[in-house]
């Protein structure tokens, strides 16, 4: 590489780079890009292939599965939620203009709490991460040299679930009141006895749907990044933005599983009447804080890492310097990602945790702050000897680094436990995390300007971009810096010490300035999409990542050939020829290679449009909206109860139907024949996806089992037996253990039968599995029915979900497992139908993947049985 550099004349002319790169041009095939034809800038430049309608039609956006389209949808939708959350913030700032008595000002107390809660939730969940994932969707496949994500329809599904979860949150405002217990949703304020409105339930369910979207997205991105990199692009060599997304997604996979557990338990408390977080459960409050912050702290890095990635990319491009200490930078991020799961109790220094725990978490907290010092210095030293051009993207990134430094330093204050004791619940915390989080937003806005020409094929207006930055930066500091000055204001109140009022007024003015700066941005970008200067493939001098080697906007299939880094530089190999005849590329004999290869040919005539992800989104929306009408296991009174039930049933039918339709529909994922797959060479995409999904499911069950252990220890491990009727005996559980183990065996038989192409055996063993699974559920139903109607001295009313904490944990945890069994049975039923028509013979992969799931469900039961029946 260095040889090439040495021979290259360093003219510094912007677009002449590829041509000037004499040393490697031929071999690299780099200069092919300018010749790539057919970028129709007048229609926005999107190609019309792959069965997708024109980008000007609405239908295109409903059926698209292309990663670039989905990326644009994510960006647009997240900006909508930015405005939504931002307007709520401005309402709060108006309320805070002067200290108010109850009922004064534009927001009443409940409305204020709703605004506070919704602002936090919308910004963190529905704006920040999805905004970053808009870029991730668009840019990551380009940077790694993939045609699309591994599972394009699941990607579209992620998006639609995200959109509909956000709409569901919006609806919750019209059902009495949206959730008003703060974005941290501390228990027991979050249960219906304190927040009874239906809307509060809907808000929680909206979050559940959002987490579903995130989990699907995580599985998809991880499979893609681990199995679909261009030849010669090892994980170590990934561009920094992609690196940050890789780590973000790994953190998401596990952190959001913990949040999902917390939200499912909370939903169950609200809908079914379990008592985990009820005031009567002495450990409920602490349980929530542990579960929430176990998710919550990684979440901080989940939203910040992509911003860091944008900073790294833009710093390198606009300084014309490769990042200083790249390996250390990456190492530091990996450390942070791992450690992020071991710092959560620093949010709980004033709870009843003991001194040892405080000391430990103080130490890990300092530990996790240090890698960030390294990253900040690495970015700063990258400036040295640069050729720095202060274009809008760089201004935002540079500003973001300044803000992050302030946020970081003020965070060290919070790491000192003695100071944290006083800062807890004050505006110091508010100011600190806004400097960090909105600091991150600043970098992402820079990313929007940076990639705007790539995405739209047109330049934004540089002058207006700079105006935006000036207003943004001044507004930001006017808004958040005064919060440090009057840090003694308690959080989430609107009655504060009157001497603080002038500072809060400055903050309010700053808030409006910050908000209005986005009007400039929207105007600028909107105008530029239509009238902007046509952007070249690479409008930024010194940009080096792969997305700049292809047209702006890129064609649907992304690359003019098969991307390849084998000789240290990106080149595109001819992909029109049969892969086998492609002499230049050595085919790795990977397990799933043949399968993917086969479908690669059909790629050109199989439609890449699918309406079903959208329909699943609609169905989930209706289902959860209907579910919100439940409270403690029964429907709300009056006519509305029927409406909710109707919504629930309609939604369930639509969701299930569209899932089946999606499975039946012919659709092929992108070809992975020519990709770098270490360390997953021998694993096919779907199998890897299944493994990754199961990894998150392990965390989900782990959180449920952990919750059980936590409340039981708190109650007294042995005293717990007093909460359980004598009728609760191990026998039904034991029978179920045998049933499940046998069914696992019959799945293995089915797999072997499919391999050996014996249809009778295949059908027989699948039906056996189904029957055993049904027997498991029937046995469980009988057991539950019996326990519900127990009549003993201790339990005259029976032993149901809301009887006590022991019954709640028993029914909910084994119920979650039962739901897994039920899902497995639906899949089995589907496979039986297909097998009867002759499917799977000689093609046992689908059965193998289902087997993975089914064995996992069995193994979980092997943990649950002793925990809930014997100990």
């Amino acid at each position: 590489m260095s040889d090439d550099e040495a021979t290259r004349p360093d003219g510094g002319a912007s677009d002449g780079h590829a041509q000037a790169d004499g040393g490697s041009a031929e071999a690299a095939g780099n200069p092919v890009t300018p010749e790539v034809p057919a970028v129709d800038h007048d229609t926005g430049g999107f190609f019309e292939t792959d069965g997708l309608p024109d980008s000007a039609s609405i239908k295109r956006w409903l059926v698209t599965t292309n990663h670039k389209d989905v990326g644009i949808l994510y960006l647009a939708t997240s900006l909508f939620f930015l405005v939504f959350g931002g307007v709520l913030a401005l309402l709060m700032r108006i309320q805070l203009w002067v200290p108010r008595a109850a009922g004064e000002g534009i927001l009443g107390p409940v409305a204020y709490n709703q605004a506070v809660s919704a602002h936090g939730l919308l910004m963190v969940f529905w704006f920040l991460s999805p905004f970053a994932f808009g870029f991730a969707n668009y840019i990551v496949p380009l940077q790694i040299g993939a045609k699309d994500l591994a599972f394009p329809r699941l990607n579209a599904l992620s998006y639609w679930l995200y959109l509909f979860s956000g709409l569901l949150y919006g609806v919750s405002f019209f059902q009495g009141s949206a959730f008003s217990g703060g974005w941290t949703m501390y228990a027991p304020l979050s249960v219906p006895s304190f927040l009874p409105s239906i809307g509060a339930t809907t808000s929680v369910l909206a979050l559940v749907l959002f987490v579903a979207s995130v989990t699907i997205g995580s599985v998809n991105f991880l499979t893609t990044m681990h199995r679909m990199r261009a030849k010669g692009l090892s994980i170590r060599d990934l561009p920094l933005f992609t690196w940050t997304i890789l780590l973000t997604v790994w953190m998401m996979l596990f952190a959001f599983a913990a949040l999902l557990a917390a939200l499912m338990i909370l939903s169950s408390d609200r809908l079914l009447g379990t008592t985990y977080f009820a005031q009567t459960n002495d450990a409920g409050s602490m349980l929530w804080t542990h579960l929430f912050w176990f998710f919550g702290h990684p979440e901080v890095y989940i939203v910040f890492f992509p911003a860091l990635g944008v900073m790294a990319e833009t710093f390198q491009t606009f300084t014309g310097r490769r990042i200083v200490g790249r390996k250390w930078f990456i190492g530091a991020m990996i450390l942070v990602a791992l450690q992020s799961f071991g710092v959560w109790m620093h949010h709980m220094f004033l709870t009843s945790i003991n001194l040892q725990a405080k000391t430990l978490f103080m130490a890990t907290t300092i530990g996790i702050s240090l890698p960030f010092d390294l990253m900040v210095f690495a970015l700063i030293y990258t400036l040295v000897k640069g050729d720095i051009r202060f274009k809008t993207p760089f201004l935002f990134s540079f500003g973001a680094l300044v803000l992050f430094i302030v946020g970081g330093i003020t965070g060290v204050f919070l790491g000192a436990v003695v100071l944290d004791y006083e800062f807890r619940g004050t505006y110091w915390v508010v100011a600190h995390f806004h400097y960090v989080m909105v600091g991150g937003v600043t970098a992402l806005v820079g990313g929007l300007y940076y990639w705007f020409p790539k995405i739209t094929g047109r330049m934004y207006d540089e002058f207006l971009g700079k105006v935006h930055f000036a207003m943004y930066f001044v507004g930001f500091n006017l808004l958040y810096f005064p919060m440090f000055v009057v840090w003694e204001t308690p959080r989430r109140v609107f009655a504060y010490q009157s001497s603080f009022a002038p500072w809060h007024q400055i903050a309010t003015i700053g808030g409006f300035l910050l908000g209005s700066s986005f009007l400039v941005m929207f105007y600028n970008l909107y105008r530029s999409v239509w009238d902007g200067e046509i952007a070249s493939d690479n409008p930024w001098e010194y940009a080096s990542t792969a997305e700049w080697t292809i047209p702006s906007p890129p064609p649907l299939e992304n690359f003019p050939g098969i991307p390849d880094y084998t000789d240290g530089h990106l080149s595109f190999r001819d992909d029109s020829a049969d892969a086998a005849a492609d002499g230049g590329v050595v085919d790795t004999a990977s397990g799933g290679g043949e399968l993917a290869h086969e479908t690669g040919h059909e790629d050109h005539h199989v439609s890449h449009a699918s309406i079903w992800p959208f329909v699943v989104g609609v169905g989930s929306f209706l289902t959860l909206l209907g579910a919100s009408g439940f409270r403690n296991g029964s429907l709300v009174d009056g006519g509305m109860g029927g409406v909710y039930l109707g919504l629930l049933l309609t939604g369930a039918v639509v969701t299930l139907g569209s899932l089946v339709a999606m499975t039946v529909e012919p659709f092929h994922g992108p070809d992975v024949t020519h990709s770098e797959k270490w360390p997953f060479d021998g694993v096919e995409n779907t199998k890897l996806g299944m493994w990754i999904f199961l990894a998150s499911d392990v965390v989900l069950f782990g959180a449920f089992i952990g919750s059980y252990a936590f409340v039981r220890v708190a109650y007294g491990w042995q005293d717990w037996h007093h909460l359980i009727p004598a009728a609760h005996v191990p026998l039904p559980g034991l029978i179920n253990t045998y049933l499940l183990l046998t069914s696992s065996f019959s799945v293995v038989v089915a797999m072997v039968a499919a391999q050996k192409e014996k249809k009778g055996w295949l059908l027989g063993s699948l039906v056996t599995t189904f029957v055993l699974g049904v027997a498991f559920l029937v046995n469980k139903a009988l057991e539950w029915q019996h326990l519900f109607h127990v009549h003993s001295e201790a339990f005259p009313q029976g032993w149901d979900l809301s009887t006590n904490i022991a019954s709640s944990t028993f029914y909910l945890t084994t119920g979650l497992h039962g739901a897994h069994v039920a899902v497995g049975l639906l899949i089995t039923l589907y496979m039986i139908v297909r097998a009867a028509r002759g499917a799977y013979l000689g093609n046992d992969e689908p059965i193998e993947y289902f087997g993975l799931y089914w064995h996992f469900v069995d193994i979980v039961w092997l943990f649950l049985f002793p925990l809930f029946y014997i100990l």
Binding site: G232, G415, L419
Partner: protein, 262 residues
């Protein structure tokens, strides 16, 4: 995993006067001052350095001999430029500052976490129970007297035992720099020592419902004499003094935590 040297260093720190001691306000203010000065200094230096470099190496600055610099190349396999040593030196410096600052405050944390000793409390410990409920604070004195105002003697360690009768609250008196969570079913302990008589306001620092903004209580620091006089005239509150509807039955009879890190 602490080595002997570290333990020794900690002991020295704890016993020397470097570690702030005194009332919670004194301790807090001392530490905050140091953090503010150092934090500002570090922030100003780092940001100024960064702006200076950005200005110096601006495109039109002409401070770089382009032939000596290796610029990134479109389509190259991502890589870094050197500079690892400089990076490490700065990183080590920042690590030393941060770790020593936190270690320093850790001494104070141990001091703050210690329960007041017998000498300090003059033999009889004053423990006041604090119960949060939507949206008020109830203070329960050793003799069972309940009040909405926290009265405490000046110059004496007062231990607070805090819990909640309904949702998660947080009891804090900014004037005395004392704060702790009020969690249903749990008990948290904290303490303060007021140096002057006077009146302070306690707030709730955890969102607890519609009345959160107004969940305040008056804290009256009295001369010891006056306090004793007032206290000797108090009587245990009986069950008819219901402070807050449903949650009232819990007052005075704290539901003690059942085992989690009490």
């Amino acid at each position: 995993m602490l080595s002997n040297a570290t333990v020794w260093a900690l002991v020295v720190l704890l016993q020397s006067s470097i570690v702030p001691r005194g009332s919670r306000s004194e301790v807090f203010n001392q530490i905050l001052q140091v953090f503010l000065w150092l934090g500002t200094a570090v922030g100003v230096v780092v940001i100024a350095y960064m702006c200076w470099k950005a200005y110096k190496y601006r495109a039109s600055g002409g401070h770089v001999d382009e032939s000596a610099v290796d610029r990134p190349d479109l389509g190259e396999l991502p890589q870094g430029s050197g500079g690892g040593r400089k990076l490490f030196v700065s990183f080590s410096m920042s690590a030393i500052i941060v770790v020593s600052l936190i270690a320093w405050t850790y001494g104070t944390l141990l001091f703050v976490e210690e329960s007041p000793s017998v000498e300090e409390t003059g033999g009889d410990e004053l423990v006041i129970e604090v119960v949060g409920s939507q949206f008020m604070w109830t203070f329960v004195y050793p003799n069972g007297h309940e009040s909405r105002t926290l009265r405490a003697p000046v110059d004496r360690e007062v231990k607070l035992r805090v819990t909640s009768a309904d949702v998660f609250h947080n009891f804090g008196v900014p004037g005395l720099r004392v704060k702790t969570d009020a969690i249903p079913g749990q008990q948290t302990d904290t303490w303060f020592r007021a140096e002057e008589t006077g009146t302070h306001t306690a707030h709730c620092y955890e969102l607890c419902g519609s009345g959160h903004s107004y969940m305040d209580a008056e804290v009256r620091i009295m001369e010891q004499q006056a306090y004793e006089e007032w206290y000797s005239n108090t009587t245990p509150s009986n069950a008819t003094a219901t402070p807050s509807g449903d949650g009232a039955s819990d007052h005075g009879r704290l539901r003690l935590p059942t085992g989690v890190n009490a």
